[in-house]
């Protein structure tokens, strides 16, 4: 008991001290000089202020509604202590506040009201305290109420100091950022004014005309302030308005003053550009030169304004939780509240994954559902995303009858229905969606006149109908020949394929080009038993016959006991010498692969000896041609045989025709009938072309002969 009494008295005394100290401070306010440590205390003001507010409010409420504590012991004491503590704290807070006010960056005028309301809180509070024990009920009530009032005002004024003018009300106002299309934007109203409002007007407005200057109305701006005009229309760049904002921050005349919210670099540039460029208050933005600095800058600023949305961003946690491997939710760009959603992987799609988006119903502006299997119900869910602007429903298997649910999406600008077989009734639904700027309807089963009638209805909508098969016939691509070996022992099996399943495959084995006149139709795998050239083409309705596919097959033949070349093959293409010719390994189209023998300066001249007299039906040379690489068919091919008689006899001789143009890399089989019996030796001579024909870039030089196998049967 005694204890707490002493406690009380101590507090009361310090309260009195507080009053004194504060009085002194107020009087000598302009002469305060602070040691830095006190500065620190000053800066604690924003922290301290919370205590008195709470304590005093509690205290006052107890005064007003004593019943709350009815029955509680020493009710009055409790009230008194609360008030007392509250007052002590407000004292400290005020002192701190006064310290803080001495720091640069605060404009006296702004602080005044806050300061005085604050102090009045203290004083009224004190009076209330001393009136507690006495019983003028009305006085108490009156005091209490005015106290509450003062506290609120002080708080608000304080807030505006730190958080800027009408911090309290701004949330209510913020919704009104109205969107002006570039065409209508006015240089002053939509570009300059907003800047002034944010950064200058707080001090230069009707209610507070620092330096007798107002910047809240064009005519005031033109009039200027106590130091004369702020805009110099003769020499714009000398306009005080500009000079002030360009001064270094520390300069006393710098605007906005140090500690105030500064202009951004961009804003400065814009103001500069605007002033230099006639500082017009009426001009529309578009009336400025496209090239003019002001237009460029403003236009940029403008784009920013344009993408701003008037709904609040979703909680990042929610966005995070909605992201998974098959659903991507992300802001259209970091600063934006608007979200775009894409779905991937059709197996993992289900209606739930759409419903879950209800948490971000307001923020979704773009949605990509292409290839997801959608149901009627899903469309309904989508219709709940009321700010949706862009919707992609390609290949979602919908028939469109339930699209009417999307009518109410008034922001929907772009809708893509490509690849859905739409019921013709959808046409009517779509024709009412006038809000659409673009509509994509390729491959939706609509007829030409359905399109045109839709165009009628949606005059302001861009209608994309996509590619139409105009009936031009295209050449089919060549079939694919599948086999395991080009050289076979007694027979080999060949399969033919074509990527388009509906085609017919015509082929020949006699080295003639298959066409409607001469061909076999491919039914089942082809069995090949002798040296042959397979040529295949594909034909189909609505297509031109394909280019040909070609393959050469060789029956492995006799192997002479001894072979020798009169001239070594060229150094760079010597393969494994004569071994290459009978290794039954077919060279491929890569003639550098070492499976080919190349001859240029000397002819290919091969002598083959057999153990005993042999019956020879045919001899075949497997050659390679690629005119671009100077590789041609031989200009002359000769074959000799030597029998028991021991004398050479030429059996064959041909001058293969010289190609009239480059044909690209291809294999060539030259086969000759001999039908000689008792052959002991065989000689073959292939002459490389020389000179190359006129049409060839290397005309006049020597050509090549490439050979990789010889087949004797």
């Amino acid at each position: 008991m005694v204890q707490s009494n002493r406690f009380n008295t101590i507090l009361e005394n310090s309260l009195i001290v507080g009053h004194g100290f504060i009085l002194i401070l107020i009087i000598g306010q302009n002469h305060i000089v602070l040691p830095s440590i006190l500065k620190v205390i000053g800066r604690m003001h924003p922290l301290l202020l919370h205590f008195p507010i709470v304590l005093l409010l509690i205290g006052v409420l107890l005064v007003l509604f004593p019943k709350v504590l009815s029955g509680a012991q020493h009710q009055d004491r409790l009230i008194k202590v609360t008030l007392l503590l509250g007052l002590i704290f407000s004292a400290i807070t005020i002192i701190a506040g006064l310290f803080l006010s001495t720091e640069t960056g605060y404009v006296r005028e702004d602080i005044q009201y806050h300061q005085w309301t604050g102090i009045s809180v203290f004083w009224i509070g004190s009076i209330l305290y001393w009136s507690i024990d006495r019983d003028f009920l009305h006085l108490k009530k009156a005091l209490s109420i005015s106290l509450i009032f003062c506290i609120l005002i002080t708080g608000h004024l304080g807030a505006s100091l730190t958080h800027g003018e009408d911090f309290l009300w701004s949330p209510l106002a913020s919704g009104e950022v109205e969107y002006v299309p570039l065409e209508e934007a006015l240089a002053y109203d939509h570009i300059i004014k907003p800047i002034l409002e944010q950064k200058c007007i707080s001090c230069h407005k009707a209610s507070k005309q620092k330096g007798e200057l107002r910047l809240d109305q064009p005519d005031y701006i033109l009039t200027g302030g106590e130091n004369g005009k702020v805009l110099d229309l003769e020499e714009p760049e000398n306009s005080p308005l500009l000079q002030r904002i360009l001064l270094p921050l520390d300069h006393d005349d710098h605007m906005p003053p140090k500690g105030k919210n500064q202009l951004t670099e961009e804003e400065i540039l814009i103001l500069q550009a605007w002033v230099k460029d006639s500082a017009s208050f009426e001009k529309k933005l578009v009336q400025f030169e496209e090239k003019s600095e002001f237009f460029q800058l403003a236009n940029y600023k403008f784009i920013d304004v344009e993408v701003r949305y008037n709904f609040n961003p979703a909680d990042p946690k929610i966005i995070g939780s909605l992201n998974n491997f098959y659903r991507k939710v992300s802001p259209i760009h970091p600063q934006s509240p608007a979200l775009s959603v894409s779905f991937f992987g059709k197996e993992n799609f289900n209606s739930e994954s759409l419903k879950e988006l209800s948490k971000i119903r307001d923020q979704v502006v773009e949605m990509n559902l292409s290839n997801m299997p959608l149901s009627d119900e899903d469309i309904k869910t989508i219709s709940g995303l009321k700010n949706l602007e862009k919707l992609n429903l390609n290949f979602t298997g919908i028939n469109g009858t339930n699209l009417n649910q999307l009518k109410n999406l008034e922001h929907l600008k772009s809708l893509s229905l490509t690849g859905n077989n739409l019921a013709s009734s959808t046409k009517n639904i779509l024709s009412e969606m006038v809000q659409l700027e673009s509509l994509y309807l390729w491959n939706t089963g609509f007829s030409e006149n359905e399109f045109s009638s839709l165009k009628e209805k949606l005059r302001s909508t861009y209608l994309e109908t996509g590619y139409k098969d105009d009936g031009t016939l295209y050449v089919l691509n060549a079939p694919i020949i599948e086999f395991d070996k080009m050289i076979f022992i007694d027979q080999t099996t060949v399969n033919l394929r074509h990527p388009i399943s509906t085609v017919k495959l015509f082929y020949t084995l006699d080295n003639t080009l298959p066409d409607s006149s001469n061909h076999l139709v491919y039914q089942q795998p082809i069995q090949i038993k002798k040296n042959s050239t397979l040529r295949v083409r594909a034909f189909a309705e609505g297509w031109l016959g394909s280019t040909e596919a070609k393959a050469v097959f060789f029956k492995a033949g006799l192997k002479p006991e001894q072979v020798s070349l009169a001239f070594e093959p060229n150094e760079k293409h010597k393969g494994k010498g004569t071994a290459t010719l009978f290794d039954q390994e077919k060279g491929d189209l890569d003639f550098g692969s070492g499976k080919w023998l190349g001859f240029k300066d000397q002819p290919f001249d091969l002598n083959m000896k057999f153990k005993e007299p042999t019956e020879i039906g045919t001899v075949a040379f497997s050659l390679f041609t690629d005119e671009n690489s100077y590789i041609f068919p031989p200009s002359k091919i000769e074959i000799w045989v030597k029998g028991r008689g021991g004398s050479w006899k030429r059996t064959n001789r041909e001058n293969p025709e010289i190609p009239a143009e480059a044909g690209g890399r291809s294999m060539m089989l030259k086969e000759y009938e001999l039908n000689e019996s008792n052959v002991l030796e065989l000689r073959a001579r292939l002459q490389p072309i020389n000179p190359l024909p006129k049409w060839h870039p290397g005309a006049g030089q020597r050509g090549w002969v490439f050979i990789d196998e010889i087949f004797i049967n």
Partner: protein, 485 residues
Amino acid sequence: MEKEILEHGLNHNRRKFLSKVSLGIGSLALGSLLIPDLFKKSGDIDEDAMMAALPHFAPKAKRVIYLFQNGAPSQLETFDYKPLLNKYMGQELPESIRMGQRLTGMTSGQSSFPLVGSYYGFKQYGESKAWISDLFPHTSKIVDDICIIKSMHTEAINHDPALTFFQTGAQVGNRPSMGSWLSYGLGSENNNLPSFCVLLSRGKGNGQGVYSKLWTNGFLDSVHQGVQFSASEDPVLYLGDPKGMRSEDRRKMLDQIVALNEINYEEFGDPEISAKIQQYEMAFRMQTAVPEVTDISNEPDSIIKLYGPECLVPGTYTANCLLARKLSENGVRFVQLYHQGWDQHDNLPREIANQAKDVDQSSAALITDLKQRGLLDETLVIWGGEFGRTNYCQGKIQADNYGRDHHPRAFSVWMAGGGVKPGIVYGETDEFGYNIVENPVHIHDFQATILHQMGIDHEKMTYKHLGRRYRLTDVSGHVVKDILV
């Protein structure tokens, strides 16, 4: 002092560690949703914070498809119409025009530089009245959707450095490719596919070869390397399970692996172990996602006609164009095609005709296809080679047969979609088609513009490696605003 070095170091390294996790695993496995969070923890103005702010502003394009015409198509037979050259056919190139342009070893020996005009005619198409050669009947149909730039220029005069320059911003060295930069900067849209895919095709003409260096991640994390899709049965290397292993069997095995790894994690508590588990799950998802995307069996007939039947033959340019659309449609950030065979030092008229035939229909088809799916406005498509070709003849000159050497000073590319102005022609060359006379666009400007369309400020996206901050545009580059919507 020791003490604070430690403290300093510690904080710094914690930050670096976090950012590494977020970039490495973040951009692929855990999905980019993690990136912002992790970045928040890494407070300081490093790559990390910089990356956190990506894209820097609202992107116009979400994806890029780059149809690279490797070997350098002649601008004079494609998009840069110069009738004067036909008029002065065979006459010497005036020194006043050449102005000491350095020559490649192939023509530096040449005693004379006879001008040669295009063997193929040109006509005007579309609202832009753009001149396009008769070699591109399909491209001329979409002329109102594309923006032709006739004033590209580079410094490189040989294929390798020129290509490397285009892809990495530097002629030599081992720097990250454009696609890697974008993967690094924007992460992947679809977390079950790589964010940077590469498709290769051999042309009909003289091939130059391409180098994996062109899609390297350079000093960036290897998750940003271009994934080369192959024409064989495994579109992505090692993707397919071995024969006799069905998906459920694989799943079963993975479950054992997870179980065993977790036992280890219990004991050692190293996050690397759990990261490994993540990667295996990711791999498993890729095994289903990739085939789903690359499967063309259920494309409608009209698509096959649109692209041309070759689109069914894997490994052809046409097939790659179709595949590119499918990948892009499924959220792959950057699809890079390379088509070889444009290097016509001789035989130009014949060879370039084959090349054009090879790419014309499918390139145009890609645009049409994206357009009809409502994707063109968010997909940036680029068509072009590494430099241009000379207006004078290399080798023997004939009316119907001539060649052209490399020419860095002026060449043409086209762009479409992704916020690029459609139906315009930008830049002009002199009447000899040798020098640029209006709106030159340097490689770095071109790269800056692409990044800009993806919402990236090319000067802000940097990566510090061995003491230096690198960026795709090296030290220069201006966004070509005039060609943007």
